[in-house]
């Protein structure tokens, strides 16, 4: 889906320098990941080679929120954010979604300043047949020599049923990676330097603010029984009202698209917020909760591109 840098360009497992998605696009993504529809895309060179402007406009079948977390024991009335792991299409919507993405490339390919991409995206949709959802975001990509930097900020506004008002969530991520190619360790043998130069250390900071969390979004959605979603990466603070994550990683590039990735995640939840339960399940009002405990995760993955 052409919304933001991560969905459009960076989410493929052999392209993403990390194993996991940043928090705004994790298992509880602020913006639903799937659409079926049509796109109109194009690009214009406005200056020197590489100084381009491109656009993507699209229309799809609308946000596909799931109405029930997997494993839930009850009839779920409120839609959650989770993609249905069985169908990948989740809850059908009669609404339409439409959006646009624009990117601006200020630097020519020959510039010694590097490669810079500035993007902006919008997404408007209806879900659950008549509730509206709006999202927008800005992003950047910057490469210079061995350094790669990417970042994104997005906001999502969503109407909630049964008088719960509006849900306003915001998320961001910023990431830096540095290829060690071309750097030699003094005193090290050629074999060690050969392996060393295939490494890329990476670091990413991401966060989500969702002051009021639906109880359906928590892993304890079904009467206290954990109901982790498909793709859950072992980070309970993802469901915290103010989740934060610092991820550090080390990629070993065996070939340009063959990589062994390792990642260490530190969940650093911020302050607490409110949880809302399903209608009919007491308490049907905001319940103050504190930040979830810190958590850590270690992941490793072998990925092959094409």
């Amino acid at each position: 889906m052409p919304f933001g840098e991560f969905y459009e360009d960076y989410s493929a497992v052999w392209v993403n320098r990390f194993i996991t998605a940043p928090l705004p696009y994790g298992v509880n993504a602020l913006v639903p990941p799937t659409e079926i529809g049509i796109q109109l895309r194009g690009a214009v060179q406005w200056g020197e080679p590489g100084q381009n402007f491109d656009y993507t406009t699209w229309m799809g079948n609308g946000a596909t929120f799931s109405n029930c977390p997997p494993g839930a024991q009850q009839s779920c009335i409120l839609p959650g954010d989770e993609l249905n792991s069985q169908t990948n299409l989740a809850y059908q919507s009669n609404g339409r979604g439409y959006g646009a993405r624009f990117r601006f490339y200020p630097l020519p390919y020959s510039s010694e300043l590097g490669y810079l991409e500035l993007g902006a995206s919008t997404y408007n949709s209806q879900y659950f047949n008549h509730f509206w959802m709006h999202a927008w975001g800005v992003d950047f990509v910057y490469f210079v020599k061995n350094l790669q930097a990417r970042g994104e900020y997005l906001e999502m506004y969503r109407e909630l049923p049964v008088g719960l008002g509006h849900d306003h969530e915001e998320g961001w991520w910023i990431e830096f990676g540095y290829f060690l190619n071309g750097i030699s360790l003094p005193m090290a043998s050629d074999e060690v330097n050969y392996m060393f130069q295939k490494l890329e250390p990476i670091v990413r900071f991401s966060g989500v603010n969702q002051p009021a969390v639906l109880f359906s979004q928590t892993p304890y959605a079904s009467f206290g029984v954990p109901a982790y979603s498909f793709g859950f990466n072992g980070s309970p603070s993802l469901f915290a009202p103010y989740s934060r994550e610092v991820a550090i990683g080390l990629d070993f590039w065996i070939a340009p698209s063959v990589v062994w990735q390792t990642e260490l995640d530190f969940e650093l939840p911020g302050k607490g917020g409110l949880y809302y339960a399903y209608p009919g399940v007491a308490p049907n009002k905001g319940v103050p909760v504190g930040p979830t405990p810190n958590d850590k995760a270690f992941l490793t993955q072998f990925a092959i591109g094409f």
């Binding site: 392209v15 214009v44 060179q45 491109d54």
Partner: protein
């Protein structure tokens, strides 16, 4: 948004290959530009592939697809095509 779409369509060409009657100097310039583009645009997502892996017709088809997906202006798609053909 509407105006940019119109401008974009006016630049559209049916194929990613450059015109047959361009001069050798222009072809060299396209090759040089394609060499700059290839690592920035293509190798962000794909393996480095030799130009000999596909025929010129296949590369044209691939570039038509990727030009849309990667939002490449026609000049850039032509430069990548010439680069993959080794400047021929």
């Amino acid at each position: 948004m509407t105006s940019s779409a119109v401008v974009g369509c006016s630049n559209m060409q049916p194929a990613s290959a450059p015109p047959a009657n361009i001069s050798p100097a222009e072809r060299r310039e396209l090759f040089r530009r394609g060499a700059q583009l290839w690592p920035v645009k293509c190798m962000q997502c794909h393996n480095a592939r030799p130009g000999s892996e596909f025929t010129p017709e296949q590369w044209q088809m691939i570039l038509m697809h990727m030009r849309t997906l990667a939002n490449l202006p026609p000049q850039d798609a032509q430069a990548v095509y010439v680069y993959l053909q080794g400047g021929r």
